[in-house]
Symmetry: C2
Subunit: 318 residues, 2 copies
Amino acid sequence: MVTLSDVAKQANVSKMTVSRVINHPEQVTPELRCLVEEAMTALNYHPNSAAKALANNRTNVIKVVILEDIDTTEPYYMSLIFGIAKGLDKQGYALQLVTDRAHLTGGNRADGFIVTGERAKDIPLIEQLTQPFVIFGENRYGFDYIDSDNKAGTALATNYALAKNYQSIVFIGLDVKESFEYSREAGYINTLQQHQKIPQIYRLANHSHVSQAFITDNWHKFAPDTCFICASDRIAVGVERGILENGGNVPRDFGIIGFDGVFLDQVANPQLTTVKQPVQQLGELLARMLLQKLAQSGAQQGEVLVTPELVTRGSTRD
Amino acid sequence: MVTLSDVAKQANVSKMTVSRVINHPEQVTPELRCLVEEAMTALNYHPNSAAKALANNRTNVIKVVILEDIDTTEPYYMSLIFGIAKGLDKQGYALQLVTDRAHLTGGNRADGFIVTGERAKDIPLIEQLTQPFVIFGENRYGFDYIDSDNKAGTALATNYALAKNYQSIVFIGLDVKESFEYSREAGYINTLQQHQKIPQIYRLANHSHVSQAFITDNWHKFAPDTCFICASDRIAVGVERGILENGGNVPRDFGIIGFDGVFLDQVANPQLTTVKQPVQQLGELLARMLLQKLAQSGAQQGEVLVTPELVTRGSTRD
DNA sequence: TTGTAAGCGTTATCAT
DNA sequence: ATGATAACGCTTACAA
């Protein structure tokens, strides 16, 4: 194993100079810096992260906390974790997954936290955290966060439906009292109002069989030339099935636009037009934001909203 | 931060005794051990993993290497990673995701590797690894591995189809030259032969639209009373769609059995009878096997096959 | 069985 | 601007 001392010898300087070249390059003269850098590459030096961690009282580990009870096959979360892992890896950090609330404070140490799926009751728990954290998902508590721009997403979808000349545009949302749901509804409502149309909103549990049953039960209410803006792809898949089951023509008489764009949209038949969240990228951004926060000793990072993209496919008119 | 010394003081012993209670409890007298343990809980002591790592020349980090180019939304892999992360977390290890071959040897250090998705060309690369590793997935190179028992899985499926009295039983496999595919075909073939039936195997690319098109193109070949044993849920979803598209009755005249049981099976309509791999559990087993291998300084661990489970649902007769 | 001392690789502090 | 020294928390090797 090549250590600081090895590099120091090779470059004829002290360990400290090498350390400084790595951590505070501005404090060392260009010539020495150059020498040291050459020595480092010559020896293929890689810092020992455990030693660094010990000296700095850090761990190089970030805990990813999922407070929601998730179906662990849910592709959405998996993509997110994948993105986080990639983002952390790039900067030499490793990830520890926490699904057990008890592991949050107890257990191994970490340099910071990425938290998602929190409900109101979790807020005190989160506020107890003594180390920097960032949140995935809109929140009203002033926590730093990253999310898709939900409002812009449904606005995109609604505008598209209008452009495709669907007469009636209905929103099928989720029956949860979450910030993201309100934002998605707002994007829809605002867009419709700009076009002097009356919003029509239903809220369902986030399951395809629920939305499928809903369509069948209310089939008489939906005349041809209707586009359904859905708050999730799960909902959209069920809506699509319900329409087909009742003999409706997709996309000519009925359009469907989903939300999420992770996996399910491609499995549907016809494939879904959907508001695609760049989930993996969001994960990488979370990692980057947290590491930056660490570098700035916990400074506020604010909120970052990433505009999602409308992917057009067979569930809406050409 | 509570350290060894703190615990030592509290228990009126030296640091070493505390260290021994943690790492070699048998070397310390029961009374002292008890005293120390009380002190540890009283102070809520947690070992500093960086210091441990430094002293032991370890990192407490395991690299998870995915050599295959995967669709990062693929729930199968995501579940696996989730399982690995949980398994590692339990023993205080963190995970680093490697998708870039260059990061395999270079970059940060790790104590061991969990490798998956390797092709023939990757074998030399893997053999160069200087640290313990385990593989996910059957392989013919003598590497320690964990996998589902693919052969047992398709045998389960085929026996079930026979029990449900489908006259004709067809296997739709994948057109890949991989160990797991051969095993799945073998389970099907063996079972049919035990019942004096002639195997009938097709091999397709692993996409639902490919298998859907295949069914339509060959619809005349498949008389009612046929059950399709599929090598993946993706294939099965397409087969199901193809059958429905051609007016076939599922499950009365045509049965479909998938393989994997991760997410897709539940999204299908009707939901798929499928051979469910305990993917997350496989991940945890991988973590456990690797950590045990580390504890045994790299000793061979052999292979572990986990028998999958047949989940019966609407795509086969009641 | 228990304790003492040295060292793992790095960085902060203080001196030059 | 650069270097010497101690310290981070733990474990191995050796001494008692």
